[in-house]
């Protein structure tokens, strides 16, 4: 039962993820990504990680995807099936190839890393009755791993600033052109 569910959910997650890049309508992409997150959250539940599943939905589905949806809707107030839809998907041949190559390389590197790591087997009894997993997680996160935790938040901040800079630089000439 659990095995069958796992395979169904995995296929669902992958199909939804494929839907993210296959869909021409950005709102549908966001919805697909949402579906993918949900499948992954249920997979966490199957593995006995209730807390992780709740956080996955709370953070990704409840906060980040709402933000995505916001941005997509605000940028796309006009006709979603308009210009972007008529443009062929691989219009910018070399750049598309570069992006795809990078993605595939990262995917392969990730796969190699995962397959070469030996994960400690979790005793299901411990996973279920483990005393206060939330507390243990908090102690690990703010104790032993506090430096990586802080580094990750700094990285996110840097990304935000970087995106602001990039977006500003690209948009200024275009708006000036429109005004002229």
């Amino acid at each position: 039962m659990a095995n069958a569910l796992f395979y169904i959910l995995s296929v669902g997650a992958i199909l939804a993820a494929a839907g993210v890049i296959a869909s021409r309508n950005p709102v549908m992409s966001v919805l697909s990504l949402l579906g993918s997150f949900f499948c992954i959250a249920v997979i966490y539940l199957l593995a006995g990680f209730q807390f992780l599943a709740a956080i996955q939905i709370l953070v990704y589905a409840g906060a980040i995807m709402v933000l995505f949806l916001f941005v997509v809707m605000l940028l796309n107030l006009g006709d979603p099936e308009g210009e972007a839809a008529r443009e062929p998907m691989f219009h910018h041949g070399r750049r598309a190839f570069l992006a795809m190559g990078t993605s595939v390389a990262i995917l392969v590197a990730g796969l190699v890393a995962v397959l070469n790591t030996s994960f400690p087997a979790i005793d299901p009894a411990v996973a279920e009755t483990g005393n206060d997993p939330v507390g243990q997680l908090a102690i690990a996160m703010f104790g032993r791993y506090s430096l990586p935790f802080e580094a990750a938040s700094v990285l996110l901040l840097a990304t935000t600033v970087g995106i602001m800079v990039l977006a500003k630089r690209q948009r200024t000439p275009r708006t000036q052109g429109e005004r002229a």
Binding site: V27, L31, Q50, I57, L58, A61, G62, L69, M73
Partner: protein, 342 residues
């Protein structure tokens, strides 16, 4: 007794109660508003208009359903379901009463399930209600709907933060994410069990929470999603028939769940004042009375106060509520530290 059968009975009872409450609320809203305005209210269908919700339901089912031409049909049809579902899912972890024994059978605790992470589950699933609103507004392909949807979602995001932070203070006090444990910590026995309710230890948190539930359920005085003069009906302007009704059922269900959550977190859940060892049905009745008060409060406020302005709402949410709830959490943390652990 068969475990699955017990689950089916409990789920049917609680879920039926939720939907029944939502239907009753639609009548109560009209009745109370009528009384507050010296009107009579619905009184034609059944005695005192009691059968009005059923008549409304039948009417909604037989109405023609319109889908606007430019609408994204798939999302348009999905949105009302997304709006109604989260509230119906979160009711599952609300601990209504203790161990139920009926006809010599042990039914276990009166809640569909007691999750270890109940409070997180409520927050995670409850936060999804926003999708129904925002997608309904977008898929309608109408300016009014889109603006209503955007407003509602901005508001829900802003107040969800305060809501989560006030719940966190309660969780920190109890040291457990299980709603059942939070309820039990507020009723440890003894005559003065009223004094164990979290409302006495979290007065600020309680006030912030109650106001935030109004904003979170898009209720008056924060119902900007449906500002009649500016946005017609807001995100559900283009909806008709049963899908329109689903938005309303969702709203009333969300109100019911929020009332139950307020009672659970701050008023001891099924704890009966001065009677710590009350049997389950007395506790259940106490729970219903307390939750009923908050449901009445929703209606009372709606027909008493005028609507805020949107910038006032954002100002209140980000510059008043967020700092206050952070302060509340900080004060709770300091208090726990000085008392020596939770």
């Amino acid at each position: 007794m068969n475990e699955i059968l017990v689950w089916v009975i409990k789920t049917g009872f609680i879920f039926g109660g939720l939907v029944g409450t939502a239907a009753a609320m639609s009548l109560a809203e009209r009745k109370f508003s009528a009384w507050m305005q010296y009107r009579i209210g619905p009184n034609r269908v059944g005695p005192w208009g009691l059968l009005q919700p059923i008549a409304d339901g039948v009417k909604f089912m037989f109405k023609e359903e319109l889908i606007p031409d430019g609408a994204n049909k798939w999302v348009f049809q999905l949105a009302p379901l997304l709006a109604a579902m989260p509230a119906m899912m979160t009711i599952a972890v609300i601990p209504f009463a203790g161990r139920v024994e009926l006809f010599g059978q042990d039914f276990g605790n009166l809640s569909i399930t007691d999750l270890d992470i109940g409070a997180l589950y409520v927050l995670a699933i409850g936060g999804l209600a926003i999708y129904g609103v925002i997608l309904g507004g977008w898929a309608s392909n109408s300016k009014y709907s889109l603006l209503g949807g955007l407003r509602a979602s901005a508001q829900m995001i802003s107040y969800e933060l305060s809501l989560i932070l006030t719940i966190l203070a309660v969780i920190a006090m109890t040291g457990d994410l299980d709603l059942r444990a939070i309820v039990e910590a507020q009723n440890t026995g003894g005559v003065w069990n009223v004094l164990e309710w979290n409302i006495w230890y979290q007065p600020l948190g309680f006030m912030l929470f109650v106001v935030a539930t109004f904003a979170e359920t898009n209720r008056h005085p924060f119902d900007f999603a449906e500002c009649e003069p500016e946005l017609v009906g807001g995100f559900h302007t283009e909806y008709s028939a049963m899908r329109f009704a689903l938005f309303f059922i969702g709203e009333y269900c969300a109100m019911t769940v929020m009332a139950c959550l307020t009672v659970t977190l701050f008023l001891g859940g099924p704890s009966v004042p001065f009677w710590a060892a009350a049997p389950w049905f007395v506790g259940f009745a106490a729970f219903l009375v307390k939750a009923g008060f908050f449901l009445f409060l929703f209606i009372w406020v709606r027909w008493t106060l005028p609507r805020f302005r949107f910038d006032q709402l954002m100002h209140l949410g980000w510059k008043v509520f967020l700092p206050l709830s952070l302060l509340n959490l900080l004060a709770t943390g300091v208090a726990i530290l000085f008392r020596g652990g939770a």
